[in-house]
């Protein structure tokens, strides 16, 4: 048959690769900063936009969506064209995708630092950016599906299945978790509240890990690992089972983030069971990756690309074994809310995503620039720095996690807590925080070596933006032929394939979400639980804007060690007006849910809170909390009260009809009372300041089920 000439677009690959390097450096640098902020609170600089609570989401978003995101697209644009023997269907769509994505990243960084956040981890971006993400994502997917349709190969290699699953699932997750009611041009409330919001958020959160950090990278692994080893994948059959098992199972596992928390028991068990089952496909994938190197292990000694890949795939295996273990309730009781979780995710982020990206970049640039890598020695140095960095980062945090759990749960002979002060534990794990910061710095330095090495490689090489290739055209084949298997048929039908993938992932979502909405007994109502006052609502929005949830939980698990420390355990019915839920996932500081309960052990008067916000170290010398002096300067925006109340009413929060018009009277009355109380304690602060609203909120949460006089 006649050969057709066409061009691979290397320019788009190069652009995404540069973006990966740039945002990688930025994201890691921000990570180093927040690691040091936990040791030296002065590094929060006393400024709103440099405070841990705002900067930490910048780090997580930068690493996930900017570094890994651009890494995905780099490998995807390179491999997709070659696997399909065609250029991208639309150049402008590729370019729009690139600039759209970078624009989103810049908007994300600016808005997060400015305090515009939804308060939901890894989905912090506000509604206008959510819409933009959806648009750019659809353009990316459209271009991909179009390219697949005009391919010159009959069958679609397994890596592309992973790309298709990534596209559809991320779209579903992003839309599902971002349904919100805007009440200003940059702020909104999610339609879900409390338990439902938690379930939807972790359905999203867990699957963001699955379908943004895992499936696209598995696609890259199935392409670049065989390329670098110059061997076909160990077992193609295993890769098919790996694919279907993974996309079916992952979607159900979300509730394992909520074990022992106020969600129905059946949902918790569902999360655990599916998490354990996930070991099988995950390890199938890891083994498939590693065995692809059969007969090529001698090359691993010399080739830095293969070294990075081996550690990446090993890290994938380790974290996908650790994940299911952390989903066992008995282990989760220890690990959850501690630094163990942070160590766990960094094995995945630094080892799996980071190292696979590095290996891919070291492989791609010499190819695209038709030259050899500038320095293999430097790449090897990077490899060892990075590997040591992962160890220095994670081992101390595992140690810290165990230390935290042991100290939090220890009772003395008299039956009271051995370490009743949260700071006793913080002081104990300080050395681990130091080592983690050292590990993070090493990793950052390694990435710098990569950038230098690539810079020199690029200088020495010559780049062809469009690489010529030729292949015969694909014959039109239509429907299923006699004797052709269904899966084989499916493999050349991308649209049908995409629809099946959507069905697969929706199934899990349906099972998880529908019953919580419909079975009344899942969330027993508590008559005494009332909506927040408008001042408390303002305070809540400040709590969210400052990112307090990054370090404080609002969820007391039903353990004696927790009820002794924090008070009565949390009930599902207490959170029915929490749009969004603020349960948190990590306790760098103590739980706050019952802080306002006057008979509780953690109750502090308003004046204490005021002084603590202004200068935490004055109240507790060893505290690592940042200071929030601007809260006494910035005013509560009363113009927004009515819009907030109306948004809440739309969501079913029972404020009386017409309350939006008079709510500001209640704001002022309650604020003046708090300001007067502070004045009596010698603190002179205007009743219109943000700190007043935040104090009102802190004193309110978790108090509805007790007599609070």
């Amino acid at each position: 048959m006649e050969l057709q000439k066409f061009y691979y677009d290397n320019k788009i690959v190069k652009m995404f690769a540069y973006a990966t390097l740039f945002w990688g450096i930025v994201g890691m640098l921000v990570g180093v900063l927040i690691a040091f902020q936990l040791i030296f609170p002065e590094l929060n600089f006393g400024l709103a936009f440099t405070t841990f609570g705002r900067v930490r989401p910048v780090h997580t978003n930068a690493i996930i969506f900017a570094f890994v995101g651009n890494g995905i697209f780099t490998g995807y644009y390179y491999s997709l064209q070659r696997l399909l023997k065609t250029g991208m269907a639309s150049k402008w769509m590729s370019t729009f995708h690139f600039w759209g994505w970078q624009f989103i990243i810049v908007l994300a960084a600016v808005t997060l630092l400015a305090g515009y956040t939804t308060g939901k981890e890894y989905a912090e971006l506000e509604w206008p950016i959510d819409i933009l993400i959806a648009v750019v994502w659809v353009v990316f997917g459209w271009n991909m599906m179009w390219t697949i349709l005009k391919r010159r190969t009959k069958h679609i290699y397994v890596a592309i299945w992973f790309y298709i699953a990534t596209f559809v699932t991320v779209a579903v997750l992003h839309i599902g978790n971002s349904i919100e009611i805007p009440w200003s041009w940059l702020k909104s409330y999610p339609v879900y509240a409390g338990v439902q919001d938690a379930l939807v958020q972790w359905w999203y959160g867990h699957n963001a890990v699955a379908f943004f950090l895992t499936t696209p990278y598995l696609g890259l692994m199935y392409y670049f690992m065989p390329k670098a080893a110059n061997r076909p994948v160990y077992s193609y059959k295993l890769s098919i089972v790996h694919f279907w098992a993974l996309i079916f199972l992952y979607i159900w596992a979300g509730p394992h983030h909520l074990l022992y928390q106020a969600v129905p028991n059946w949902a918790q068990s569902l999360g655990t069971v599916f998490s354990i089952m996930l070991i099988a496909p995950s390890w199938g994938g890891m083994i498939n990756g590693l065995l692809t190197l059969r007969g090529a292990w001698d090359r691993v000694r010399e080739d830095p690309v293969l070294k990075f890949f081996v550690v990446a795939v090993t890290a994938y295996g380790m974290s996908t074994f650790e994940g299911p273990m952390l989903s066992l309730k008995s282990i989760n009781a220890i690990s959850h809310f501690t630094n163990w979780t942070v160590g766990h995710v960094h094995i995945g982020a630094m080892g799996w995503n980071g190292f696979l990206t590095f290996g891919m970049i070291y492989w791609l640039f010499p190819k695209m620039f038709k030259t050899k890598l500038y320095s293999v020695k430097l790449a090897n140095l990077h490899f060892w720095l990075g590997t040591l960095a992962i160890l220095f980062y994670s081992i101390p945090l595992y140690w810290a996690g165990w230390t935290e759990a042991s100290m939090f749960k220890q009772f003395n002979d008299a039956g009271t807590l051995m370490y009743p002060n949260f700071l006793q534990v913080v002081e104990q794990i300080m050395p681990m925080y130091y080592m983690r910061a050292f590990g993070g710095t090493l990793y950052f330095l390694g990435a710098f070596l990569l950038v230098y090495n690539i810079y020199k490689t690029v200088k020495a090489g010559s780049f062809a933006a469009y690489e010529e290739a030729e292949a015969p055209a694909l014959e039109k084949e239509g429907g299923r032929k006699p004797g052709e298997g269904y899966h084989r048929f499916l493999e050349r039908k991308p649209v049908q394939f995409m629809i099946l993938s959507i069905v697969a992932i929706l199934i899990g979502g349906l099972v998880e979400v529908i019953p919580t909405y419909l079975i009344k007994s899942n969330i027993p109502t508590i008559a005494s639980v009332k909506p927040y006052t408008p001042l408390e609502l303002h305070g809540r929005d400040i709590y969210i804007a400052e990112g307090c949830y990054n370090c404080h939980s609002q969820m007391i698990r039903p353990f004696r060690s927790e009820t002794e420390r924090y008070g009565e355990y949390s009930k599902a019915g207490e959170y029915v007006y929490d749009h969004p839920f603020q349960w948190g996932s990590k306790r760098t500081g103590p739980d706050l849910w019952r802080n306002g309960v006057k008979t509780g052990r953690n109750y502090k008067p308003d004046s204490w809170h005021y002084n603590h916000f202004m200068d935490p170290q004055k109240m507790n010398a060893t505290s690592i909390m940042p200071a929030y002096p601007w809260l006494a300067d910035y005013e509560i925006n009363l113009d927004l009260t009515a819009a907030k109340i109306r948004a809440m009413q739309t969501l079913g929060v029972p404020y009386p009809e017409g309350y939006d018009k008079v709510a500001n009277d209640d704001v002022k009355a309650q604020a003046e009372k708090i300001a007067a109380g502070l004045k009596a304690q010698g603190i002179d602060v205007g009743s219109n300041k943000q700190v007043i609203a935040l104090i009102a909120y802190i004193q309110r949460i978790g108090t509805d089920i007790v007599e609070n006089k």
């Binding site: 069958h155 098919i240 690309v305 010499p366 199934i507 969501l651």
Partner: protein, 64 residues
């Protein structure tokens, strides 16, 4: 919350959705697994070579 609940409870027989979903999931997975196990070895090997075809044609590995 109220919105979502009212939409979902408006669907007739929504209680069956999760069960049907679970059965579909298991059935589809079993079919897929059986199909894969019974796939011809030569065919699997051919598919596994897809990423390497380009190199086999050009045989220009700059990196090694």
């Amino acid at each position: 919350m109220g919105i979502v609940r009212s939409i979902l409870s408006g669907i007739d027989g929504v209680f069956w959705f999760p069960l049907i979903a679970l059965l579909l999931f298991v059935a589809f997975f079993v079919v897929m697994a059986v199909h894969t196990w019974t796939m011809k070895k030569s065919r699997a090997e051919e598919l596994a070579r897809l990423p390497l075809e380009e190199d086999e044609e050009k045989n220009n590995d700059f990196n090694s």
